[in-house]
Subunit: 230 residues, 6 copies
């Protein structure tokens, strides 16, 4: 069964790319949804698809970017992320930008262009980081009829695809999640999301100094640790 779609647009659904058996690419659909949270006091980020350790940590890194977009309302929402058809397990962090895009689309209710596929790791600050197997992934996406492929800028030199695919697919190297969103979401509201992502990355969160009772001058002099740090 072809679990992905290569045309039209859908909310909360992204064509990711994976490597199978070391030397073969595959289109890996990722579906996200936002729901009221099971708890009155905290949100959850729930990823299914038999994720292994590195993949689970990649979802945690993506959640940092998501929480910066949603603000404190995240505590009232559960984020569901579903890797479709991966009964044998998912490893690695190269689906990170796909996960982030699916979740942002679901949050903002803005559709994702299904003619696009993507691969890339993500830092907790929104930087797109390099991944492995880029050439295998591009060829698999091209064979599947995908038209545009987003890859990390740091992987640009790794692209060694056969001539037959060069006219077929457009390769889009990116450095930040903001660029991923620009090339994958559709519709007028996309600009608002891009603006929000830019603003968030330069904010300073509020932290008050702790409410403290200053120790006496005498104690400060006596305390070895105190004078060392001071």
């Amino acid at each position: 069964y072809q679990l992905f779609s290569k045309e039209g647009e859908q909310v909360g659904r992204v064509n990711g790319l994976a490597v199978m058996g070391g030397d073969s690419g595959v289109v890996l659909p990722i579906i996200a949804e936002v729901t009221p949270s099971l708890s009155n006091s905290e949100g959850s980020v729930i990823a299914t698809g038999m994720l292994k350790d590195i993949a689970k940590e990649a979802v945690q890194n993506v959640s940092a970017v998501i929480k910066n977009i949603t603000g404190k309302d995240i505590a009232n929402r559960d984020i569901h992320i579903q890797f479709v058809g991966t009964y044998e397990g998912v490893e690695g962090d190269s689906a990170s930008i796909s996960v982030a895009t699916a979740v942002i689309s679901a949050i903002e209710q803005v559709p994702v262009n299904q003619t696009v596929a993507m691969t890339g790791s993500l830092s907790v600050r929104g930087d797109v980081l390099p991944v492995g197997g880029v050439t295998y992934k591009i060829e698999a996406a091209a064979q599947a009829g995908i038209q545009k492929i987003i890859i990390p800028k740091a992987n640009e030199a790794d692209v060694l695809i056969e001539d037959q695919y060069k006219d077929q697919v457009e390769i889009i190297p990116v450095s930040t999640i903001t660029e991923v969103i620009e090339h994958s979401l559709v519709g007028n509201e996309k600009k608002n999301i891009v603006d929000k992502l830019k603003k968030v990355s330069n904010v300073k969160w509020n932290f008050d100094m702790p409410e403290v009772v200053p120790a006496s001058i005498e104690n400060m002099k006596k305390s070895g640790t105190g004078s060392k740090n001071a």
Copy 2:
């Protein structure tokens, strides 16, 4: 003992279908109930029947659909899902639509038609996804006296049942949980549930922009990450 019923209607009870030993189908009853939650601050989704990993994740995916129907009241309720008689364990995600239907029936107190059996995986957004063993399952349901069998539309081409069953059972291919509900619940309130499911899939949840103190222009210029993302 025949643990399922093939006639009449019951609240919170669905005839699921499973494959045993690789090439033999079986009717697998699933019972759901909604209760006050043990906690004042969070609901729980509790599934019993010795579920293995993929089956547990399938229940998590179903819970996304459920939470979108119930809204924030879910935090005050525990959802119990019981796979009956599966002492040897349950694996796979093909009971997903059965679980969702049993829970929706229990929530809405609208009965399920017991002449129906069903098999199908479910996305967190309510799409019915394909499963394995459809032919075995249909034959087992037909032999057990079931009259209608709901299957994923993506599995329609897989149905290769023997002639003897063709007049006996009606096969209903579906693409969304909304269609599952239309074909399995009974009574006047069914229409309200279908309407609710349609409405929920197009809502946009509220997320305020984070309460932030903008960093100074000077800092924005200096910060490498800032300018990269911007």
Copy 3:
């Protein structure tokens, strides 16, 4: 030491029945108590007696029935369930109706008839489900001096006890937890509990539709998932 009593009545104590070594029955006392909860925000259901996996899940199924009787006050109470003397472990779900009866007795402070023993599995909706080893259990109870034995109606055909026991014990087949309560509790308040159980099984819990901002018509048309589910 004989850990069970076969006469009189006691609050929170039930004579369960178990199979030992595959072909030998034994009377297994189960004691329950209700206490203030350790937590200000959630109740706990705590079962001791070295329960194995299926037995632990059976307690979870029983808790669904309990929570429907207690309502939201359950969040302020801890429910303790003690299998007495089972240092080698307890497996299976056939003690479910015994556990439910002991807890209901403790909650309502209404005594259990100690001349009764019982075996039966329980659905989350209060249906009594069949169990194994019914004949061995009945013979053990009869030998121990028990006068009435409650069994699942679905197990009625399995009862193949020797003649000597036929006059000694009364076999009571039941289909619901309500019937179990009718045959095992004593005193005037029993009727109130039975009424409560009947009422609870037909209530519809309140779930408000989620507080949502409808997406624009334009977005609804564009979104593939939206139109699929609609």
Copy 4:
């Protein structure tokens, strides 16, 4: 080092009895303390001394009795239970009445008579249940200079101690935790605790019926589960 004291009185400290190597008794001191809880919303019961599974469950059973004495204030307190010197681990439930007595002494700030030692299991409702190795334990306590030994009434027939100990120690068989307290605590306040224990075992906790919207008569008739339970 002799870790226990055999004279005087102490708050929160009880001389328990254990079996070592199968055929040798030993005095096992148990110390309890009550503190403010680490959490604003829940208390904890923390037992140290390398307890194994049955011993951990015994502590849970004891906690049922404790919570019934303390009421809901337990959520603001942590209960610490320390088995002294058991670096090789503790198994079994025969220290249950010692644990309960040490905790009650710590809660009420009423001292325990250190000339007493004790052994006995405990039900969640306060019944003293039989244990193994009673003779070995009594002989060890006598040799250590203990004057009174509390044992379960159900173990009375097991006491086969040598003549030399018969004049040395007094054996006190008990059936309930109330009797244990009567024979082990000292001072005027002991009577208040005994009264409290008697009152608690006959109270009925408040549970409101769930806040429910009755389903329509029509639904009640249609629903199979409804009519089965009714």
Copy 5:
């Protein structure tokens, strides 16, 4: 690198003593700090240094003493305890009084005398309990230039150090954490801490009787458990 200091005074830092390889002592520095808690509703006690099971339980026992000093404010603080340089793991409970002293120093911001080293287990009620390897530890401390060594009074008879160390170090046997504090902290505020420790060990925490509805006389007579306990 010499990780400990043997002169001056420091807040939150204590020279503990450990045995390495069975017959060799070593000075083991322990550092504590008090911080705002990560949670709005509960404090945490966090110990690092690859602690094994008995060592982890020793930290739990120490926390009982700490909570009695801090009162309910503990729920707003996290207590950090760091065993320095123990990459191979720490076992045993002989660092308990060092941990308690470091934490009390950090809480009260009163410095610890660095010319002192100490070893001793601790009960949840503040009693100092005996430990092993006292002679090895004293010799190691003396060789390292430590001037005073606090040991459990119960270990006094175990001290068999060589003559060369007898003039070099002062041995201080203690029975309670109060005495440990008296001999290890410096400055005027020490007296306040000692007074607080004395007061705390004799307080009685508030526990209200549970809010209960007395069962009727009739039920009390009928209920077997009730009459047994009464």
Copy 6:
């Protein structure tokens, strides 16, 4: 791919140093971000990069320093720490000062000088503790084009680098996290952070005496534990 940058400045990003294969250094970038917390009631510190046990404990030690800077607002924030590219796992505590610096930079939105690399363990009170492999790390940093390298003062004597590197890199030995911040952050706000760190290390947190009911004089005399501690 070169995952680190050796010039300019970035918020929340630090060039750490690690040892690979026992005798080879490597620049290990660490990225931090601060976000709203998933929970309404507690913050989390989340570290990714396949950290092993000692590395996880090092992050806990660093969190003590962080919480002292942020005060109670930490309960509203999640701290994300990402070790980049460490798919094979990270062990040891020598990245502690890098982690602390990245998090402080992210919290204060003050950039880190990317021409600096650093290695050092950290105490919960902010002391920089010695690490292994300092020479290998310095050589690797120099070869990578790094200009300044921060090391623990306790490791100063271990630096045995080849002549070729001596003019190339500046070695900066430090004793406290305050000094690390002074040598690694850039811009005018750095001074405020240094001041805050100095002030925090000498504060005394508020702890009220527990709200207690003094036991009667009579009880105090009777209680053995009481009189021992008093």
